[in-house]
Structures are given as structure tokens and as C-alpha cells.
Symmetry: C2
Subunit: 223 residues, 2 copies
Amino acid sequence: MHDVRLSPTRRRNTFEVGQMTAEVKPAALQLTERQEARRRRILHASARLASRGGFDAVQMREVAENSGVALGTLYRYFPSKVHLLVATMQDQLQHMHETLRKRPPTEEEPAARVAQTLMRAFRALQREPHLADAMVRALTFADRSVSPEVDTVSRLTTAIILDAMGLAEAPTPEQLSAVRVIEHTWHSALITWLSGRASIAQVKIDIETVCRLIDLTAPAPGR
Amino acid sequence: MHDVRLSPTRRRNTFEVGQMTAEVKPAALQLTERQEARRRRILHASARLASRGGFDAVQMREVAENSGVALGTLYRYFPSKVHLLVATMQDQLQHMHETLRKRPPTEEEPAARVAQTLMRAFRALQREPHLADAMVRALTFADRSVSPEVDTVSRLTTAIILDAMGLAEAPTPEQLSAVRVIEHTWHSALITWLSGRASIAQVKIDIETVCRLIDLTAPAPGR
DNA sequence: CGTTTATCTAGAACAAGTTTCACTAACGCA
DNA sequence: TGCGTTAGTGAAACTTGTTCTAGATAAACG
């Protein structure tokens, strides 16, 4: 009768934005091997369905079936569809982060580096527009009950951007503000693209535009 | 048997961003008086329910009951819950725009004027956080089928910002980019606030931060 | 006016997210 | 190894958005 939800719900890795390292592992409180495997199967099924038909195509019953797990079990691992998709996004972001670490941006200026990085991520999303749809829609639709998970995604994104700026260690408050604004723009621009209201070119422009903020907060004398 | 959906669906007021005036009336293709009244009752009920419990509290059956209309009729006027809420947002924005016209921002600098305007709007939303939740969640969750309506909201927002900048007439492409980025930040910051991941103060900072972009695109020599 | 046609109404029906329940399997530990 | 507890299964039930149907009203129009 102990309706204690499985890890993902209460995960709350308290760590500062700055000290984000490569190890942001799911960190669910000790899962057995079989459980870890189940969790992985679920995420995999979720991503697969999502890359077919986007948000709507991820149907909980089907995810359960496809991952060989009972519906109730699925809900024990991920207490809602949005939780599931946000976790899926965490997963994908992790990959992205690692990939980016291997091939850091080539540009000189921080602003250009960030823009380049985001455009790379954007191109990756373009390859799986449905998956992108599912993840981003879930992310912005998430209510308070998903805050911890959304926050994790946000921290990952922040880490990626800071990495691109070349200062994963000691960002100033001003720089953090700029990064937050960049993130806002990133998410919202993706949405306008996904809903067909903005072209790829326009998203590019928006990203480049917002990245100029970085210059404003550069360590240089610039106000 | 002519399942022609009512106006709101196919509304497609083609008008340029710049020439946005006060007359953006719903403009549904000729509704009779009774129909206009019904539409209004529906929107009113929607807003009332939303200001109670936010997105989830707006239940289509209840909206129908509260506005004295059959469920089928509700769906004829607004083909989905998201359509309904986006229309509700249009409605509210209209009011906001008029209010802002009456008392334009007092600041001198364009950037400060925009920031002041958005903070005013933000304070208005803070008075009805649940309503804000319903509208903003609907807006960002909207899929392609709602694009025209979302676009209308976007144009209204753009108009408000351009007004605040003091150039509703001839914005440069660069300025339009900045405005788009400001809008992105505005929506996304609202979401982080609504989901409890950012404080009011933080939203304020983000708005002020992004508004600096306006200086970068000023008619002045600034690059 | 009377008729034709488009709207509305009431209510059932359907779909997918979520919850619940009774039961079985796996795990942790003494 | 045996046993109590936690996790997982299967299936039904429940909720709320959405669709459908048949019949009643209102509008348009000759």
C-alpha cells in the first residue's frame, strides 16, 4: 500500500548550474539491473513512437506494449506522459551534450560559438522533427508537477550553452541572464518552427540575434 | 450536412504586421447578433473558469453549460480547447492593447519603454495567474491546426511591442528580429514563472536583459 | 407565408490519459 | 532458504476532450 512512486518523480539532484559536469546520469536512486533495463526500454519505445508521429503518437498504452511492460508499471516509472517525454528529452540532450563535447564549436567569438552550437542542435532536431515536436511540446506544456525534471533539462541546456561560451566555470550573473534569455528564445523559436509559423531561416536569425546579447555581457568593458 | 466550421477556424485576416491598428475586431465572417452573443458568453465562461483553476479547470462540458450552449455548438465555434483558450487570449490581449494605448509607457528610451510595457502586462497577469496559465499553456501547446489563431496573437503582441518602441510604422528587419526574440523571451519566461521555476524578479531581469537588444538595432549608428 | 437549409440541442459514443484492484513475481534480509 | 515487502501484471474503470446522431429551431429566400 506504500504508493511510493519510482525515482524519476522525486529526483532532485541539487547541484549548482556552474559545476555541471559530464556526469548527470539519470541518478535514479538505486535501480536494479532489470529495472534500469525496463526504464531504458520505455524511453526507447517512447522515442521511437515520438519520432513517428510526434506528441500525439506517443500513446501510453502503446509505449507500455512496445516496451514489454504493464501500463501500471509504466506509470510507476513515469507518472505522466509529460514526465515520460521530458525524461526522453533529458536522454537525448545528454547524447547531444556528449557529441558537442567531442566536437566543440570552431568559431572564435563566444556569441558565434553559441549560435553555431545551437544551430547544430537545431539541425539534429530537423532530422527528427516529430521527436522534436513531442519533446518540446511536453517541455513547455509541463506543469508544476514536472518542475524538477524540466529544471534538469534546463540545467543541461544551460551547461551546453556555457560550454559553448567557453566558461563552464565562473559565469557572472549578467552572463547567466543572457544564457537564460538565449534558452527562452531557443525553446520558443523551436515551437514556432514546429507549428509551422516560422521557417528554418527565421529560427536561425532569431538565434543569431539573441546571441548578440552575449557580447553585451562580455568580460570586456562593454556596458 | 455541410459541416462548415464557424468563422474562428478559418479566420485569416491578412494584414501586415506594421499596419496593425486598434480595429482588429474578431472579424468573424458576419455573425448574427445571437451568434455574437453566444460567442461572447463562451469566451466569458472560458475566462471565468480559467481564472479559477487554470488550464485544467477549463473543461469543455462545463464551458458549454456555463455559457448556455450545447457541447456541439461550443465545438462549432471553437474547434478545440486550445482554439478556445487562444481565442480567449486574443480577447484579453485586445483589452491590454487598448489599455496600453491610453497610458503609454513613460520612459524615454525605447528599450526601457518596452520593458516597462511588458512588466505592466506581467503585473496584470500576476493578478490572474490561473488565467495566465490557461492562456499561455494553450498558446505554446497549440499545434499546426491552430497556427492562424496563434499567429493573430503573435501579431497583436508584436503590435504592442512596436507601439512601445514608438515605431508602429516602419520597423527595420533587424528591429523585427529583435521584437521576435523579445516575444520568445516573454512567452518562455512566463512559462518558467507559471511552472514555479522562476521568480517574478527573475522574469523581470530576463525581460530587461532581452530588451537591451533593442539598443543594438536602434536607428542610431550602432551596428 | 412556406419551404429549404444551416444552426442548435441533448445525449450517446468514442479515444486516450490516468487510476484502481486483485493477484503474482522479484527482492532484501534474517 | 523462507518470508514479508516492494514491484510488476492484466484488466477494468474513470475522466475529459472530441465526434456523431437525430430531432428541434432559426434563418434565408422565393
